[in-house]
Amino acid sequence: MVVELTRLLEVTGLRKSFGRIRVLELDFALEPGDFCLLLGENGVGKTTFFRCLLGLELFSGSIRIEGGPSTGLIHGVLDQPMMYPRWSVARNVRYLLNSSDALERPPIQSLIGKGLLRRRVGDLSTGQKKLVLLAIALASEAPVILLDEFANGLDQEARSRFRKAVQAELAAGRRGFVATGHDLAAFAELPTRVLVMKDGGVLDVTDQYNSGISIEEIYEHHLARTHQGI
């Protein structure tokens, strides 16, 4: 008997170009309980990769979630405005989660206070907006969550609360996360895998990470090699 194992997220032959410039050409996979950190310089294609995963860009290749289509199964938090500034936070939460019981979901209740729910999004600070979007991502039913520069604007207390919520999700083993960011300290012990994006592809450096080398050191080493043209 042959048992075919399906991965949580499987990206095969993903190619993306802007004009004649090839930005992405990679394969990628994610398992439940994975927190995959994508490292790379600005403009290397991390956000474009996320946009392709979210179906917001045209690309060639296939994206499968547990062997099937990805519709409704990937939720992303990009480093850009994603809410209606004139609506209250509560209305944005209901709209983005598209559910009337959205406010009762545990991540919304634990990460967003009642006072914040009543406020207009346009009146929030950058960090508060980011925290709302992160809470929405955790409150979604998507098994794959993409976090682009998740820590931007978040204070230490909010980062800590969010990391605890993510750790609980990882421990449950139902979801996988793919994250990018340049504030590497914000990830702390979350990553289970570390990849470096370069020339449109990905280089798996998880072994180095598991051997005790810090994310910062891995990234600095990668930068030095890049600048040497290696």
Partner: protein
């Protein structure tokens, strides 16, 4: 509940959470008030015309009773008409104008104006906002992966058509109390002539005009969805469309605006002096079909930009 229906509900969340629903409410009230005020004005004009003709008849020593007892005849087309027995003709015009004080007459009169003049522009503007709101807010980053392309592209036109239908119903309903207010305001001037009021239009004509108004709004909305998807611009496109729609003369029989006039030729109700005449001899049924085809094609074309271009700004 399927993803498609959930997306339709999400689109209505946008309608009700933002100012759109309130703007629709205000628009329906303003349109109803416009209908009542223009109806009252047309009644007063008709009465003034009748009284002027009556005074002329008396001045000339003509037999007023005999003139009122015999029917008027009208010969010729809209460009040149020969009216015999103008006193009776003017009285008949008063009778027709007075129907605007009845609930169904008021509803038919304002819905006819809406179907021809207001709803295509309201629909276009609504379509522009509907095709740009999630792109401009950035909420599409969350929405698109949840919905998928088919549900996304179904939800927008479906919500647009249902919203235009709701707006038409709201205008029809609000026209009734507005007509009652108008009746109270002009009662003193019309009381002697109210016995000559023509029969009010039947309810099924109101229903037909609600459907026609929703259709013309949906047609404008389809163009708005298409243009909004292509340009992602709001103010400029709405201004240009409004100017072109209202100020540029019909370019021929197959001008889409002419379809509206032909499509409503059996149902539209213009009891005042404003009586737009459609160009050519297209006929009601072919015009309705053309209008439907135009609307469906515009809806289908509005899907193309969403399929072939990036859904988010590329900056950053």
């Amino acid at each position: 509940m399927s993803i498609t229906w959930r997306e339709l509900i999400r689109e209505f969340r946008w309608v009700t959470y933002g100012p759109t629903a309130i703007l629709f409410g205000i628009a329906s009230l303003l349109l109803a008030v416009w209908g009542a005020s223009s109806g009252s004005a047309s009644i007063m004009t008709a009465i003034a015309n009748f009284e002027a003709t009556l005074a002329r008849y008396k001045e000339n020593g003509e037999d007023v009773a005999a003139a009122l007892a015999s029917p008027a005849t009208v010969e010729g087309d809209g460009s040149q008409q020969i009216i015999t027995n103008s006193l009776r003709y003017d009285l008949d015009q008063v009778g027709v104008a007075l129907t605007q004080l009845s609930p169904t007459g008021a509803a038919c009169a304002i819905l006819s104006l809406c179907a021809l003049l207001a709803f295509p522009i309201i629909g276009f503007s609504f379509g522009i906002f509907m095709s740009t709101h999630d792109y401009r807010s950035g909420s599409i980053v969350v929405r698109w992966p949840q919905s998928g392309i088919r549900s996304f592209l179904f939800a927008k036109p479906a919500a647009l058509v249902l919203s235009m239908l709701a707006l038409a119903i709201a205008v029809a309903v609000l026209s009734v109390p507005c007509a009652l207010v108008a009746e109270a305001l002009v009662r003193g001037s019309v009381s002697e002539l109210s016995a000559f009021a023509a029969p009010a239009p039947p309810v099924d004509r109101v229903v037909a005009l609600v459907a026609l108004s929703a259709l013309t709004g949906a047609a404008g909305g389809a163009v708005g969805l298409l243009v909004g998807g292509l340009t992602r611009n709001r103010t400029f496109t709405i201004a240009i469309f409004s100017v072109v729609y209202l100020l540029v003369p019909l370019v021929g029989e197959y001008d889409p605006r002419n379809f509206l006039a032909h499509a409503g030729s059996g149902a539209m109700y213009f009891p005042g002096d404003f009586r737009p005449a459609p160009l050519g001899s297209l006929g009601q049924t072919p015009a309705l079909l053309w209008l439907l085809v135009f609307t469906v094609v515009a809806y289908l074309l509005s899907a193309v930009p969403w399929m072939v271009r990036s859904r988010v700004a590329r900056a950053g």
